[in-house]
């Protein structure tokens, strides 16, 4: 589903990603962790074709996206959902209209839009607030709407960049529960987060990054409790060796 091989990215000579390689199978769930500036957001942006890698190979849903033509990018994105830390909801549109926009851009027939918006809002438990505008919702509720928008086109891959960064612990739990439910229905989910507490609880694959490199990648052993703070090898796996 997702394959990265020696992906490198520099910003004006400053390395943001250094030979990052990993693979995610269809239906897998993984956390991308690491300190600020580790390259998590850059990696997600490259996966979402918002940035170009300088070197390496990226295979997404069977398509090599390295140096993809800009006219092809929208069609690739339609099979992917993206959840942002700042929700990116349009404040002057109602919740329903925000989600309907994602259906409109892919050419969904007008007659189907209302039904599908209602269905996806029901899935995240926000159907009763569909006529409100985002500023009238709490942060957690806004993020649920953003997740609903990312899901409405039934993407095969869901990427999330610090989705709970602005949320209280309870709202964060609800959002992560949503991700787990989505994943259980077969969607591949990759979440970049600092929320180590949730990462510990969810016991899923953890890809740890530091200074642009993947330093640890593996699924924790449920019999061994994870440490209270993240570090290389925290997932209970052997740290990835640095390339020379």
């Amino acid at each position: 589903m997702i394959q990265l091989y020696r992906v490198t990215k520099n910003y004006e000579g400053v390395p943001a990603l250094r030979e990052v390689s990993f693979t995610m199978a269809k239906g897998e769930f993984a956390f991308l962790t690491g300190p600020s500036g580790a390259g998590k957001s850059t990696l997600l942006k490259i996966l979402f074709c918002a940035e170009h890698a300088d070197e390496g190979r990226i295979i997404l849903q069977g398509m090599n996206t390295f140096r993809l033509k800009s006219s092809t990018i929208p069609y690739l994105r339609r099979n992917m959902g993206f959840v942002f830390q700042d929700y990116k909801l349009l404040p002057h549109k109602t919740i329903s209209e925000n989600i309907a926009l994602a259906l409109k851009v892919v050419g969904t027939p007008f007659g189907d839009i209302e039904r599908r918006v209602f269905q996806v809002l029901k899935k995240v438990g926000m159907e009763n607030k569909r006529h409100l505008t985002p500023p009238k919702l709490s942060g957690g509720e806004q993020q649920k709407v953003a997740v609903a928008r990312a899901l409405v086109n039934e993407p095969q891959v869901l990427l999330a960049d610090e989705p709970t960064g602005n949320l209280d612990p309870q709202s964060a739990q609800e959002v992560f529960r949503l991700f787990r439910d989505i994943n259980m229905k077969g969607t591949t989910v990759l979440v970049a987060t600092h929320d180590w507490e949730t990462v510990r609880k969810m016991q899923r694959r953890i890809i740890t990054m530091e200074r642009g490199r993947v330093v640890d990648d593996g699924s924790p052993d449920p019999r061994i409790p994870l440490p209270l703070k993240p570090h290389a090898g925290a997932a209970g796996t052997k740290p990835v060796e640095e390339a020379p």
Binding site: S71, L76, R77, L90, V105, G107
Partner: protein
């Protein structure tokens, strides 16, 4: 894009116009100012052209005929001259009529021609030319051509006047064209900046649409239509303001400004061209700014 065509784009464009009414009002005002300048110069240019045309219409070439031509020969010659491109009107003038005219012109000095026994003036044709043909080279060629016709004695025309008129016509035509290009570019620039203002106010929405898989065409469509509508509205407003100014000007000013019958307002066809042209310039301006914005 099943189900989404021009109707959706137009509806979205109207929504955008309503949602950003203040920015759009500013855009319409700016476009309207630019189009008002275009309209003002069009009024000046068209009236100047009419004035030059009127001067050209007064320009005549005299074709003098040989004595002894039959009526049939004269008719044939007149028909031949009439068929010449650039010839607007040909009037036959008999020698008697020519003498009468001459006498009229010499009013008070008739004594000058009293000494003449027989009428010395020949039969002639007075040829009125299309103002666009009042060009020294073309006139010379025509005069040479007419002189070569059987039965023509001589051809005369005011060379100096023709030279002056032809120069004036060229200045008006080429000057007008240069001005039109300059104003066209200015209008595209103003419109593209106005559309860009509207774009910036909706930057968040455009960015989001890109993130959720909207194609360039899907994003561009409503903005192009919006740019076109803003420009057409601005152009219509400009014509309206010019019309109000024109029709409220005191008649004395209108008469003073131009030809004996006064300054004309823009013909309806030109008004239509201005509004449609404004719309197309808006489309061009929209393309320029949306293209840059999406890059």
């Amino acid at each position: 894009m099943k189900g989404y065509g021009l109707f959706y784009f137009v509806a979205e464009a109207f929504r955008g116009l309503r949602a950003n009414s203040l920015v759009n009002l500013l855009a319409v005002s700016t476009i309207s100012m630019a189009m008002m300048i275009v309209g003002f110069f069009l009024i000046v240019f068209l009236n100047l052209q009419t004035a030059v045309d009127a001067l050209g219409d007064r320009f005549e070439m005299s074709v003098y005929l040989k004595d002894g031509l039959t009526g049939h020969e004269k008719d044939f010659l007149l028909h031949r001259i009439q068929l010449e491109p650039g010839v607007k009107k040909v009037t036959a003038l008999s020698r008697a009529e020519a003498l009468l005219l001459f006498k009229k012109e010499l009013k008070g000095q008739e004594a000058l021609i009293q000494g003449l026994g027989e009428n010395p003036l020949p039969d002639s044709f007075e040829v009125v030319l299309d103002s666009r043909s009042v060009d020294t080279e073309r006139l010379e060629a025509l005069a040479r051509k007419f002189s070569g016709y059987r039965g023509v004695e001589d051809v005369s025309y005011g060379k100096e006047g023709a030279k002056l008129l032809s120069g004036f016509y060229k200045v008006v035509t080429y000057g007008g064209m240069a001005l039109a290009v300059l104003l066209g570019v200015t209008v595209v620039f103003i419109i593209s900046n106005s559309v860009r203002l509207a774009l910036y106010s909706r930057g968040q929405e455009i960015e989001l649409m890109q993130w959720i898989g909207a194609t360039r065409g899907f994003i561009q469509g409503p903005f192009l239509i919006e740019g076109m509508m803003l420009s057409m509205l601005g152009s219509a407003l400009a014509v309206g303001v010019l019309a109000v100014v024109y029709y409220t000007l005191p008649q004395e000013v209108v008469l003073f400004l131009s030809r004996p019958n006064g300054l004309d307002f823009l013909p309806l066809s030109v008004v239509a061209y201005m509004i449609i042209g404004g719309g197309l310039l808006g489309l061009a301006g929209g393309l320029v700014s949306v293209g840059r914005f999406l890059e």
